[in-house]
């Protein structure tokens, strides 16, 4: 023995015991501080003591040690790929469980938005199988739209408005140029958008004045009808030619174009589209209402907020679940009521730093589904809250989004666990209604994230333990004395939010999306 071990005073030891068990009072804290400041030996001892505290905690309650080879979140195979091992190790430590799921492409920085047009109206559209379905409000960059039937209205950022009828294939090239490979389109071009051009097979159609229709058949036959103003036709291998209101032209590859009498009525106009949309909108609403009524009756529905206030001035968000406790109503703080997914549907606007809906979720859960219709306006901060329980206590649920567009479910079953999706919410998803859903299932030990009904990630749950949400809020976060830097206020609108005490199946989530999708 070289030096006798340091002997702390009984007073110091007593304070240390109280401090580490969380029972120390203010006076005790100050005294402990004093003793620590005064002596390096005390500080050393303090750290050793808390090290013992840490190791004891890790050794208990199934906290899994780093070296443990037995923990695999899924049935082990003979040759496990590295990521299972990584996931197991990382899961055993309760940290960023799902990072390995991020794929190369998804980790790339999302390019700044380059919107060419906005989808402003759609009626009865069936998108081509395999393509992502787009909704009203979608911002469109360069790319191809394909749909089997139905009508869409595109507003190009330079001011041209195009109504297209399926089956159609349109490629957006620039704010003043698109390619039509198939379909019937009607373009209305205000003076500031003169020069707007649609490329048809063997022909560029340039608008020099207000309105024309273009039909491209799958047989390669095309027609242009000038409804108003002037259109300049640029054939592939011939000189340009002007057409005026009332004139029309039909052509196909290899043949001389033929003049026709214009008939604008075959091209759906904006007015017609609007009246069709209002009929279609009624169908959407009634479909959604039927589904919502069903959800209200489900035993596993804990709360189902449809964001329809009883009175316009109401500060209560009623839980519409049948026979629900009044305690499960949300208390609206700061948020104003605004328009939801369709005219007549209400939503709450989350704008201010303190806008939120407070709620209390009783009970413990081993499986849940969180589902919401949200319109994110912008990423104002790194993390934006959907539903966060207060602080990050054991049993916590932190459902939030990162400014990279990742969906994140953070849970605390005794050690922290974050389940990330790859960045899936892109710049073009801002300003439109998206359906986000996340399931947590202890039985299958997995967390699944869904965007617009599509599964976007599955990550393994490492440590199980009941979720005990208790006090929570939508669109914001309360931690002890929140400061500005830790704010997670959402900038956007929510018009539906449901909490199920069960992990819904992918099919159920797809259905929920389809029955709630705006036009």
């Amino acid at each position: 023995m070289s030096t006798p071990p340091f002997q702390p005073t009984p007073e110091f030891l007593e304070l240390l015991a109280q401090y580490s068990s969380g029972t120390v009072d203010e006076k005790g804290t100050q005294r402990l501080e004093q003793l620590l400041q005064d002596s390096q030996d005390n500080r050393r001892f303090f750290r050793r003591y808390l090290q013992a505290d840490t190791v004891l905690r890790e050794s208990s309650c199934g906290h899994i040690r780093l070296a443990s080879p037995t923990i695999t979140p899924f049935p082990a195979t003979q040759q496990e790929p590295w990521y299972w091992k990584a996931a197991a190790v990382i899961a055993s430590l309760g940290c960023l469980t799902s990072l390995w799921l991020s794929r190369a492409s998804s980790l790339d920085v999302i390019p700044p938005s380059s919107t060419l047009a906005v989808l402003t109206q759609s009626v009865d559209v069936q998108w081509k199988a395999g393509d992502r379905s787009l909704q009203t409000g979608s911002q469109l960059g360069s790319g191809t739209l394909r749909f089997e039937r139905g009508l869409v209205q595109l507003e190009f950022v330079n001011g041209a408005v195009v109504v297209a009828e399926g089956p159609a294939e349109l490629e957006l090239i620039s704010p003043k140029r698109a390619i039509c490979r198939q379909g019937k389109v009607r373009a209305s071009v205000p003076p500031q958008a003169h020069g707007f051009t649609i490329t048809a097979p063997d022909m560029d159609v340039e608008d020099l004045g207000t309105e024309f229709g273009l039909a491209v058949g799958h047989d390669g036959k095309s027609e242009v009808h000038v409804i108003e103003g002037e259109v300049k036709m640029h054939p592939k291998n011939a000189r340009p030619e002007s057409l005026y209101a009332g004139q029309a032209l039909r052509w196909e590859a290899g043949l001389t174009p033929a003049a026709l009498q214009a008939n604008g009525n075959v091209f759906t106009s904006r007015q017609e589209l609007l009246s069709l949309a209002s009929v279609s909108s009624k169908e959407t609403v009634s479909r959604w209402q039927t589904e919502s009524t069903r959800v209200r009756q489900l035993p596993e529905t804990v709360f189902h907020y449809t964001f329809e206030p009883n009175e316009p001035w109401s500060r209560t968000l009623p839980n519409t679940r049948a026979n629900s406790e009044p305690a499960l109503n949300g208390a609206v703080v700061g948020c104003q009521w605004g328009q939801g997914r369709w005219p007549g549907k209400h939503a709450l606007e989350f704008k201010g730093l303190s806008d939120r809906v407070r709620l209390h979720i009783p009970g413990q859960y081993t499986a849940i589904t969180l589902a919401t219709w949200v319109r994110i306006e912008s990423w104002d901060r790194w993390l934006s809250s959907l539903l966060l329980t207060d602080s990050f206590k054991v049993g916590a649920i932190h459902w939030q989004l990162s400014d990279k567009g990742e969906m994140i479910l953070g849970v605390n079953p005794g050690s922290l666990e974050n389940h990330f999706s790859p960045p899936v919410i892109g710049p073009n998803d801002l300003g439109r209604w998206v359906f986000l859903a996340t399931t947590y299932n202890e039985a299958t030990r997995s967390v699944c994230h869904y965007l617009d009904g599509r599964l976007v990630s599955t990550t393994p749950i490492k440590k199980t333990g009941p979720l005990i949400p208790a006090d929570a809020e939508l669109g914001n976060w309360t931690t002890n004395q929140t400061t500005g830097t830790r704010a997670r206020a959402l900038n956007g609108k929510i018009d539906e939010f449901t909490f199920f005490a069960r992990a819904l199946t992918p099919e159920e989530i797809q259905t929920a999306y389809q029955t709630g999708a705006p036009l």
Partner: protein, 183 residues
């Protein structure tokens, strides 16, 4: 799609790299934060925050340098930020003391491994009764009052028992390190 010879910093390797580095350092980070913050719930919350920040800033980490040291720097910053948010909480230490504790803890990082091994060896020597107290109290998120009721003991006596267990562990560690048992 996959390049034949992956670039060492391809995104996938980057994930893999982060995952393994973080896995290695997480226990040390938790300990580091525990010595700066009054309660386990504070520690968990800041560790959660730190893990997110580390992932987010991983691009600025220089490969070949000490990840733990870098992570501690971030953790220290996050702990101080957290503390500022709790300025009215009388149970947190002053910033000066936190800085001092953090600095010394960082200086001691090289010894951490050895001490930890010693601690884990000593942990094996706990008696069954102590083991069950530890499991019930720590395993229930320190819901000591509930555990005390179940165990038919007062909360105070359970605190004292745990305190003695911690001191016993420290004693054991001191002896084993002095004996060179683990050198």
């Amino acid at each position: 799609m996959q390049p034949a010879a992956p670039n060492p910093m391809s995104p996938q390797n980057r994930d893999e790299r982060f995952v393994s580095l973080f896995a290695e350092t997480e226990p040390a980070l938790r300990l580091f934060l525990r010595s700066l913050l009054p309660r386990w719930e504070d520690t968990d919350e800041v560790l959660q925050e730190t893990s997110l920040v580390l992932w987010r800033k991983f691009d600025s980490f220089t490969e070949g340098t000490d990840f733990l040291r870098w992570a501690c720097m971030v953790a220290r910053f996050e702990a101080l930020k957290y503390r500022r948010g709790k300025a009215r909480d009388r149970h947190v230490f002053t910033e000066t003391l936190m800085e001092q504790l953090a600095q010394e803890a960082e200086d001691e990082l090289p010894n951490l491994d050895l001490e930890r091994k010693a601690l884990e060896a000593c942990l094996q020597k706990l008696g069954d009764r102590e083991r069950s107290w530890v499991d019930s109290v720590y395993g229930n998120d320190n819901q000591i009052r509930e555990v005390a009721v179940q165990a038919g003991r007062s909360a105070g006596s359970l605190y004292k028992a745990l305190h003695r267990i911690r001191l016993g562990l420290l004693d054991c560690v001191n002896r084993s390190l002095a004996d060179g048992e683990l050198a």
